[in-house]
Amino acid sequence: MCKIKIKFILNGKDVEVFADPSKRLLDLLRDECECKSVKEGCSEGECGACTVIRNGEAVTSCCVLAGQVQGDDIMTTEGLSNNGVLDDLQNAFIESGAVQCGFCTPGMLMSAKALLMKNPTPSTDDIRRAISGNLCRCTGYTKIIDAVDMYVKGQKGGK
């Protein structure tokens, strides 16, 4: 197994990992970078539980190889809160009751965040579309959509 130096930005900080480039980004983040928020649900890019933001785009990290993220900007749910202070999007998830078993939650947050980075005022349909690659078996999605909507309205209201 050959290992190479992989340099990228993780949650705003420069990181350098010596790792097998054929490792999945999912494993790189979980095993080498202590980002346990990144969950494995299917290993084939279908469930969205391992979603992270890569250069502004939501991607399923089980379908990206470690060697491919050289120089990239990666964000995981660990990067949402700042020194223990939750991001407003996280608070909206809590207030709306968007969390049940929680296994899909980090991936949902990443897909929603990627949408908001591109479009700060998405419609409900935009939100539905943005999280349609993230499966949830508990909530029926309603309160997750409500949460993102609540966040958008809160931001508009100058919160």
Partner: protein, 751 residues
């Protein structure tokens, strides 16, 4: 109605929410221990075969392999099973389905593990497998288990069914077929085991840590208190994390190697071997007067439980208690055969047989309404359970029956939110449908106790210890609210420790929609016990009688003079000074009367939840695609301890029900599941979900904590028959086989 309550009924934030939105919640696969090994299972590729030999010598020679175990290496018992212990931990002489565990391995890396599994040589004498119920039930069929292939026959009868049918003005007869379904919880089964301080400790996702402890103890030959099962945050379960999955195997490997052993199922392995929803085939006959009063109903059910019982017998028992629906039907007859085959195992899945029979009783009710040209809600109102109803088992429902309120509530809401039947374009047909259900809370006529420990600390905060496993539905939060209300302390001051067999007492399974009701009551009782000493000390400080002491919102005061008060903190200081400690233990076992097999009389459940759903669909007659537009789902929950969480259950239930009605089915070919992953087994996404209008109906009751019943499984059920009814309303075709796919629609319209 519940105005006097400060904390119960309020939308508190979940206790586990911050961990889950920050990604810091620990699921089993997130735990790694130094020196851990990776465990894996060699599984049978055959559905039915005699195991002639298992040769592990090559595998054992591989460097990095630390243990290879077969049935010969089991220290204790080699049989497990939630109800009937009919399953091997590791196959002895026979495999009965594709995926039966034959050998297990622990190795340094996943790569070495997989290589070792490949090197184990098993020779089988392959038999002709039995995949159909008819074949399994035929006289000359090979026996899958020694006792024969009919695992259970249930007969339930009241009144005089034949005579009653002769008096009916209308009779409807249909055969309903429901699919095998997969739970498809997002987190696959996982666990890690190691010995800690002489105790075999297993961290894993589960619905029932104490049951897992008992099985591990039995298989490893250890006393129960030398085994500890700790529930990790559990990524969905829905009945699929009741049976043992990885836990016994990792404990065996950890015991043998002396090293931590971790096992995580791939999605494919999870779907291949976890228990599924039983497919039911139901022949139903229902008769009524011309005014719509139902006089008689009869069902014949056959259910395929696959190679092992799992929870099949108790699923069947529940189904036979519910097949007449939430209606007063004086003459009923039900027969159910539960059959072993070499198909995948079926067991517990949200609703536990009730969704299957609800599809039938609601299909029949809707058929009667059409035949009699009656309104679907009106015919139900005429026959509905109400206060004073005596059920088929002779149980008097003397309070806590909110079925009629759900019917009326759903109808009113539907009027507000559903447009008149607008037909959009030439290809689109719209339809509206109704579905209902009732659901007994807790196990059917059998003991299912729970318990709780509580300690009030010197600073007036509380530690609550409950065995109840929160699987995402929110029991930890709901029970904290119950205890906060009972103690008169803020919600934030209640810390809950759950599902750890070393430190929390027995909680029973998180199943049968029972935890709020059963553990909630046990926890409330523990709180009441902890209050005894608080009352005594407070009464002395306030110079009143103990029964005059009121605890509310952190203040301890006199019931007659609210100015005569002290803070909780002051009270606790006094307790410390006096050398008193405030602790409590509570237990609760629902009050039931087992069904007498001769008379069929009894009280199988202490309380029942009721629900009504109204669905609106659009059917595209060119493509066959059915779109669920609106879903109203009204639920009598007794008391909603936390309305946000109750709504969350209803919304999630509606969407899972939408999958059941329109999308999902496990596809099996020769005993092998073909759609093992999300790319083949489709579940609803955010793009599929309708507008959902959850409606919470509350009723008054002295039973349960503050009158709460249960919602977890009821949430799923009524929308399924409502969708089928709406499709019939749209295109005039009654589908009795679910799911209703676009191909089914097109084929039916061609006829």
């Amino acid at each position: 109605m519940k105005d006097n309550l400060l904390i119960v009924g309020k939308r508190y934030e979940r206790k586990d929410a911050i961990g889950k939105v920050t990604g810091s919640a620990i699921y089993a696969n997130d735990i790694n221990f130094d020196g851990q090994l990776f465990g894996g299972v060699l599984r049978s590729p055959h559905a039915f075969a005699t195991v002639l030999s298992v040769d592990t010598t090559e595998a054992e020679k591989i460097p990095g392999v630390h243990a290879v175990m077969t049935s010969k290496d089991i220290p204790g018992s080699n049989s497990i099973g939630f109800v009937i212990k009919d399953e091997f931990v590791l196959a002895e002489n026979v495999v009965r389905r594709i995926g039966d565990a034959v050998a297990i391995v622990a190795a340094e890396t996943p790569e070495i593990l997989n290589h070792a599994l490949d090197c184990i040589k098993v020779t089988y004498d392959v038999h002709k497998p039995i995949f159909s119920i008819d074949e399994a039930m035929s006289e000359n069929a090979a026996k899958i288990h020694d006792g024969g292939n009919i695992l259970m026959h249930k007969h339930f009868e009241q009144g005089n069914v034949d005579e009653a049918f002769a008096k009916c003005d209308v009779i409807v007869e249909n055969r309903y077929t429901t699919p095998m379904l997969a739970h498809m919880f997002l987190e696959t089964e996982a666990g890690i085991a190691r010995e800690e301080n002489g105790i075999m400790t297993v961290y894993t996702g589960t619905q029932n840590a104490h049951y897992y402890r008992n099985e591990i103890s039995s298989v490893l030959g250890l006393p129960m208190n030398k085994v500890r099962v700790v529930q990790t945050t559990t990524g969905g379960a829905f009945g699929g994390k009741i049976d043992i999955s990885v836990q016994v195997h990792i404990a065996m490997l950890a015991q043998k190697t002396g090293r931590p052993v971790k096992m995580v199922r791939t999605r494919e392995e999870s779907t291949l071997v976890s228990a599924k929803r039983h497919p039911y085939y139901i022949d139903a006959k229902t008769g009524a007067t011309k005014d719509g009063k139902v006089l008689a109903c009869e069902v014949k059910i056959v259910a395929d439980t696959g190679a092992y019982a799992s929870c099949g017998t108790t699923v069947a028992t529940r189904a036979i208690m519910h097949f007449m629906g939430p209606y007063e039907v004086p003459n009923i007859r039900g027969d159910l055969d539960l059959v072993y085959t070499n198909n995948p195992v079926a067991g517990a899945f949200r609703g536990y047989g009730v969704p299957q029979v609800a599809i039938c009783h609601e299909g029949q009710m809707n058929a009667l309404a059409r035949k009699l040209n009656m309104d679907a809600v009106e015919i139900r109102l005429l026959n509905a359970h109400r206060i004073g109803t005596v059920t088929s088992t002779g149980q008097l429902l003397d309070d806590n029956v909110g079925f009629i309120e759900t019917l009326e509530g759903a109808r009113n809401k539907a009027k507000q939110v559903i447009n008149n039947k607008i037909i959009k374009g030439d290809s689109i047909r719209r339809g509206i449908g109704v579905g209902c259900m009732w659901f007994g809370i807790g196990n059917t006529g059998s003991a299912n106790p729970s318990s709780a420990f509580i300690e009030v600390l010197p600073d007036a905060t509380v530690n609550l210890m409950i065995g109840c496993a929160d699987i995402g539905q929110g029991s930890t939060t709901a029970i904290a609210q119950i205890v906060a209300e009972e103690m008169g302390l803020p919600y934030e001051s209640i810390n809950v420790h759950t599902a750890d067999t070393l430190t929390t007492p027995e909680g029973g399974a998180t199943s049968a929609s029972r935890q709020t009701f059963v553990t909630g009551t046990a926890a409330q009782r523990a709180a009441k016990q902890a209050k005894v000493v608080l009352k005594k000390v407070a009464s002395e400080l306030l110079s009143i009688e103990p029964e005059e002491v009121v605890f509310k919102d952190g203040i301890v005061s006199s019931i007659t003079d609210d100015k005569n008060k002290i803070t909780y903190k002051e009270l606790m200081k006094n307790l410390v000074l006096r050398g008193e400690i405030s602790v409590g233990a509570g237990t609760y076992n629902p009050v039931t009367v087992p069904i007498d097999p001769k008379t069929n009389k009894g009280e199988p459940y202490e309380v029942y939840s009721y629900a009504t759903a109204i669905a609106e669909v659009e059917v595209n007659i060119e493509t066959g695609i059915i779109t669920l537009i609106n879903a109203v789902s009204a639920h009598d929950v007794g008391t909603a301890i936390n309305p946000t969480m109750a709504e969350g259950q209803i919304e999630g239930g509606v969407v899972m029900g939408q999958g059941f009605a329109l999308m999902e089915e496990v596809e099996i070919s020769e005993g092998l599941i073909k759609n093992l992953n999300y790319s083949k087994y489709l579940i609803p996404t955010s793009a599929d979900v309708p507008n959902i209008y959850p409606l919470i109906i509350e009723t008054e009751s002295k039973k349960g904590p503050y009158g709460a019943k249960g919602i977890g499984e009821p949430a799923l059920i009524p929308i399924i028959p409502a969708i089928a009814d709406a499709v019939e309303d749209a295109i005039g075709v009654k589908f009795n086989k679910l799911p209703i796919t676009p191909m089914d629609v097109l084929a039916a319209l061609k006829k």
